[in-house]
């Protein structure tokens, strides 16, 4: 069997991976926005509630949460959760907690004068958020959202452990069928890499768009997890 005979199987697996990634991202995005905005209001009760959510769901590994939803929840509710749905829920809740911190940080980073100006202009709280604060925070939070989307995509690999036939599951099956371990996993890794690069491409596009809307210069291409190389070649060899 060559790799090209197996390609349909991999594409099918990639479809599930993509489905869970996009579903998880959508859920995580909604949660991040809601919890992040709630976490940045004045009311201490609301703020505490947001903080508890963030701490709890950042504290539990997505895999443990998924196992809980898949194995334990049916025993409580008597209703079995679809594996794909459990995966989307677990990843969305988990990554949403990280995203909420990101949103909160970005809102806090908007200069205070902007907020004061909206108060001076007698804007309602919703107007403030929608027209002034969020557009500026948005540009700030996008790069981290991109990283989180990749994290979520990578996290989706664990759904293979609750028998969803995603990329990893396909790779595992082919390993047991064909015995060509190296090919099975290398192919899966390469496909994950491609999906990640496509995701990053879209995030960069959104980043440029957000910057343009704020009238900022297009940002230099950033690398994940670090700042742009300052092109200072060190003296050491």
């Amino acid at each position: 069997m060559t790799f090209f005979d197996l390609l349909p199987l991999y594409l099918n697996g990639a479809w599930y991976t993509l489905l869970i990634t996009l579903g998880g991202c959508a859920l995580a995005f909604v949660i991040a926005m809601t919890v992040g905005i709630v976490g940045s209001v004045r009311n201490p009760v609301l703020r505490a509630a947001a903080a508890v959510y963030v701490e709890v769901f950042r504290g539990v590994a997505a895999l443990v949460l998924m196992f809980w939803l898949f194995y334990a929840l049916p025993l409580v509710t008597g209703y079995r959760v679809e594996p794909v749905f459990a995966a989307i829920l677990a990843l969305g809740l988990n990554v949403g907690a990280y995203g909420a911190e990101n949103v909160r940080g970005a809102i806090k980073a908007v200069p205070r004068a902007q907020y004061e100006a909206t108060v001076a202009l007698n804007m309602t709280p919703v107007q403030r958020m929608r027209m002034v604060i969020l557009p500026q925070a948005w540009a700030q939070m996008l790069p981290t959202f991109g990283n989180l989307a990749i994290e979520l995509m990578k996290g989706s690999a664990v759904v293979s452990l609750i028998a969803v036939s995603d990329l990893t599951f396909v790779a595992q099956q082919l390993r047991t069928f064909s015995g060509d371990t190296a090919l099975a996993f290398t192919a899966a890794l390469v496909m994950y890499f491609i999906i990640a690069q496509v995701l990053l491409f879209f995030v960069r596009m959104a980043e440029r768009r957000a910057d343009r809307r704020l009238g900022r210069a297009p940002a230099k291409p950033t690398r994940r997890g670090g700042r742009i190389a300052a092109a200072v070649k060190g003296g050491g060899a």
């Binding site: 990893t168 990640a196 060899a237």
Partner: protein
Amino acid sequence: MTFDWGFVGEVLPDLLLGLRYTLLATVVSYAFALVLGLVVAMVRRAAPRPVAAVVHWVMEFIRCTPLLVQLFFVFYVLPSVGVQLSPLTAGIIGLGVHYAAYTAEVYRSGLEGVPRGQWEAARALSLPARRTWTAVVLPQAVRRVIPALGNYLISMFKDTPLLFAITVPELLFEANRLGGQYFKYLEMMTVVGLLFICVSVPAAILIRFLERRYAAI
């Protein structure tokens, strides 16, 4: 169905044994990732351009692909080329290399934060490369990235349940085994979640404390 606390008490010793594996794997792989990440960051800075570029793309690849698949790769592929590994060793290598890709970026940002004048001064004093790194650059670079490195300790701890997939008898593995044996999944999975929170929330608080302490410098 009621929550059986008595059962939880009975199997807690087994779970704590699993937790010990979890913590062991976390600490050893973290140390591994710290060292390897530093080496990678230094290679990317000091090595000739083609080598640095290759290292960069390898690291990018590692960061963009799931840890689980990498663990499978280490666990199943390396033995087929003649390297025999115990599940725990394979897990530590997988976790360590994966996180090294992240810590390398952290170190890199630290290295970029060292002012150019420091390099120039080291050169003017004609310090050998080794001394430039160990006595001038690294102490400044590493110090300012300590908080960021701490965060990776927590996220690594939360990734250790993945070792379950390559049969390391860590916390989730034990819980799954016991849950299956007595059909008490609700208790087991809930307790695992609670144990994870019990470890990671205090750790997060500790790291935030360290962050406040070192960020001031």
